[in-house]
Assembly symmetry: C2
Homo-oligomer: 331 residues x 2
Amino acid sequence: MAVATNVYDDIEGSWVSSRDEVKILDCTIRDGGLINDHQFDDKFVRGVWQACTLAGVDFMEIGYKASKKIFGASHGPWKYCDEDDIRRALGDDPQGPLISVMADADRTDYHTDILPRDKSVIGCVRVACYIHQIPAAIDLVKDAHDKGYRTCLNLMAVSTVQDRELRDGLELMAQSPAEAVYVVDSFGSFFPLKVRELTALYRAILEPTGKEVGIHAHNNQQLAYANTIEAVIGGANWIDATINGIGRGAGNCPLEQLIGFLKNPKFKMRPVLECVEELFVPLRSQLDWGYSIPYMITGQLNQHPRAAIAVRESDQPDNYVKFYDEMIEKE
Amino acid sequence: MAVATNVYDDIEGSWVSSRDEVKILDCTIRDGGLINDHQFDDKFVRGVWQACTLAGVDFMEIGYKASKKIFGASHGPWKYCDEDDIRRALGDDPQGPLISVMADADRTDYHTDILPRDKSVIGCVRVACYIHQIPAAIDLVKDAHDKGYRTCLNLMAVSTVQDRELRDGLELMAQSPAEAVYVVDSFGSFFPLKVRELTALYRAILEPTGKEVGIHAHNNQQLAYANTIEAVIGGANWIDATINGIGRGAGNCPLEQLIGFLKNPKFKMRPVLECVEELFVPLRSQLDWGYSIPYMITGQLNQHPRAAIAVRESDQPDNYVKFYDEMIEKE
């Protein structure tokens, strides 16, 4: 009998091959910094850098370029990524992944805090914004691009943006100098098929102006890896991951899993596993990250994880029923 | 500009609607029994039963019908599911989910151990087999069906079966009296798109003889939930899950997550969360289950998780590099 088994023949991509255009951006120190106020010590940062270098990772995002006027100067160094701090941790001429920083639209003094490229060890500026901040974000991208940096754009919380506004926003971003625009699942609320659909939409609008699409996933519903590989198969080429899945709340797509999936021989899993064993297993007793039921609940409700983070940090982290009742009540 | 966003318009299913044909089979006690030698005490079994009842679960699988001739009689009660043990735990006329047992082909004395339906509190017999055991499994299904039970078939380790053999096997099973045949990802090695493809293949061969398709996923790559919802969207109607994802090795699709996804108002998440809080949070200090890197490695290599289980039970559960080296060496 004739059987339609190849339902995906019409969909680009494969999970056996590799695709050389795929770039990995490790954001361990940047996203992980959200759970320890950006306080990783230099030894830890060097350990992650070393693992990323040996693993063949393309970009390593070391933190934020946050405004000291807005946030004060009391947070850890990776909130600001001052040039001196990066050089102290990684040296004056680090050979390995391109160093990336994240700059939030409206919260970065970029005219003063982002140096000309030839005065910095930073090589890439990723601009993060919400839908109402796209013009501000594009100004920031232009500034960084003109200073000589590689740039990309992360449109956050897209699960709360309606279709019409999203398309308009993507059309705007398509005119910016950014190399890539990310599908960002800030609340960990998307299913793989939705990510696939968004990847197709982003590609359709962005590729005509020569841009690529990226994916940044969160693990609230244990879908960070699933959503990431869906995006890869669907043609996304800038792929975010963190070692051991560290990151705010439920965390991110684990780098070690991603490398196993990608199969490109330029990426190596073993150095990442070494780093997990040496630096992350001990860290588990100090910091809480990864999937748990409160994150599942905020993810399913398409809400910011802050309520789940609060309960996980409280003295009743496993009071699931009380948390569920409160969240449903709020709906 | 015209943008093809609705790439899934041609694919059956939705993640906003519910589908009344979807049935949940809780296999907490059965699959969870693989990590404590089937020793759950009656209070625990009653707690799970109560949660399943209040949650609207359709079937509750309480254990195996294993041959005492082959396995001896020294394991816990849910290895055998003797009529007396079930009645002691749940009473003589339990009102709630239909009680299901799993019967392994070639390892069940079904002529003697499976009673006529009207003498048993069991209502459903699920027959598990490998590809070479299909004729034996069908004999078992026929016996149970003739005795009055609902029946289905779980073809295990399908990730090691080649296409031609799988199609032949499905054609055979399509002629059996089983109501459903499961896509079983025994090693946790499948990606969502592969599950979607298999679900389509199973449906194409099985639906013409009036059968439905089921999904039983494992969480080795943090894909149990992702794979389960892919199968649901793709038309699978018999859905396995366990409370808190308990199960051998990396465990299964969590029932609480599944109910959140299904959205059918007949299913309730809250009683499952109550049960997690009362029975499973304390259990975490005694038993190890859920995603960890050794399971990711066996899953990615499409291997039985036994080596990963051994390292997780050893005194070096987090020696990931050594485990990785050993597994790659074996390849």
